[in-house]
Symmetry: C2
């Protein structure tokens, strides 16, 4: 089997390392000559090229570009594909991408390996990045089984935990546990920055400790990533923000009305429920 | 010098260990006989008692009880105090406590050592808990210098970083960086629990990872503590929640209106500002 990878960053590069170690031939494409050189030097790919045409013999092609480039890449690949070539992506949002890409190429299977590190780029690529981490596949009702099965097989070979669901279910779930936390967390930092009393702001900066550090971490991350998730998962992000706004209103009302028992009930339920979300935890 | 400590939990116990190692005589009071035994056995105090009367020779008394018990403890101590005895507390909220306790006992100095561990109780007491951590003192304009100075001296002897400000400035600052994060974080978990689509909720639990773990940590903590901060710092907690609600509305509007440049500006400012809050970081 030959696998093509478009985009040799952390995800594309790590994918190449694992697949090559299984004896699969990996053809890589990057826009940057330096990335192609590093990829070949590190053994991430068998061959690297700046031309999508170099992937014409690949059986399965993983599109590992930023979200904005996924559908355009499918479009540019089409002239070089045989009718049986399978395309899949690794984007963190699935509804808009699965719809766009499947209409361009029926043998498209949306995917989302939920692995990562703080580092980015080909230099951060590593073996076993996906082992033990979730890998969500989001086929449409029209997606051929012949396209789904090889992608699932490859994802499983990485040691990932496979979940299969509709793009909409995926996007709602990640809106709740990944995109909402980012915005909630950014809102916290922004609220502190908006403090008009400079004495308070200065003391707040001096006193901030582990509680602030953890709650603000994802809101202090890459701004482009934050915009991309809001943009590409806009509908589900708004849905989760509307629900969050309702929860916030409830908390405010309970404190305004001094409904301490009701507040304690909520805090008891959040305390007892949190571990349910962390049972299957893997490195993000 | 003789120091009294009422409440021999993590904070009171750790205080005893550090003060005794400086050669100060430490008299401890706990409601529970077993805590008194452990405190003496571990060398946390020179003498332990269940009676507040045992503190009548103390020069400075640290009240290390839960927030609700601080003012009542001051009241119960009064019959046993000489006019020069200095009282101080370690509560995480200062405005209501400083007002109540100073009117009961003019030689009262509000204090808040911002140190802690995940563990609670006398068994968790440790040397050097306060070293490098902030210790906020909140004297009123009426607080005598003769009361403030010995407390400041003792706090400094623990290796703490001393900050002095009004109770109101303290409460606003901790509302922003400690109490608001707790409620924002609890709101996140509660919103996820409110997901009506059970498929989405199940997948969310399976996919939740480090971003959710960190953002939800303080919201999944001790419910009594959450209620106590909302209750005792109600005014400033509400103030921070109102500001947070405004920020959330702005984020929602930007996503609704697809104002991606404006959203990116916010996320850039949160990214660049976050390190300012973590420069002086100590263990909470």
């Amino acid at each position: 089997m030959k696998v093509g990878i478009v985009g040799l960053g952390l995800i594309g590069g790590s994918l190449g390392l694992d697949l090559r170690s299984q004896g699969i031939t990996v053809l890589g494409v990057s826009r940057r000559p330096s990335t192609c050189q590093i990829a070949q030097h590190r053994g991430v790919v068998d061959e690297a090229s700046m031309e999508l045409a170099s992937l014409k013999t690949a059986d399965v092609i993983f599109i590992c570009t930023p979200l904005t480039a996924i559908a355009p890449t499918v479009e540019q690949l089409i002239p070089f594909l045989s009718p049986h070539t399978i395309l899949t992506d690794v984007g963190s949002v699935k509804q808009s991408i699965a719809a766009a890409c499947s209409s361009l190429w029926p043998n498209f299977v949306g995917g989302h390996p939920m692995a990562g590190t703080a580092e980015q780029g080909i230099d951060a690529a590593q073996h076993q990045l996906f082992a033990g981490a979730p890998y969500v596949l989001t086929p449409l009702p029209t997606t051929p089984t012949e396209a789904l099965q090889p992608v699932e097989h490859l994802a499983r070979s990485l040691g990932s935990k496979i979940y299969t669901c509709s793009p909409e279910i995926h996007d709602r779930a990640v809106a709740l546990i990944s995109h909402l936390p980012l915005l909630v967390s950014a809102g916290l930092i922004e609220t502190c920055l908006g403090e008009s009393d400079l004495k308070v702001l200065q003391l707040a900066k001096q006193l901030a400790s582990s509680g602030f550090r953890d709650t603000s971490r994802v809101g202090g991350g890459n701004p482009e990533l934050g915009v991309a998730i809001a943009r590409y998962n806009r509908e589900q992000v708004l849905r989760s923000l509307y629900h969050y706004r309702q929860t916030l209103e409830r908390l405010i009302e309970q404190i305004e009305e001094e409904q301490w028992e009701e507040l304690e009930q909520i805090l008891q339920s959040t305390q007892s429920a949190r571990p349910d979300f962390l049972q299957d935890e893997a490195v993000e």
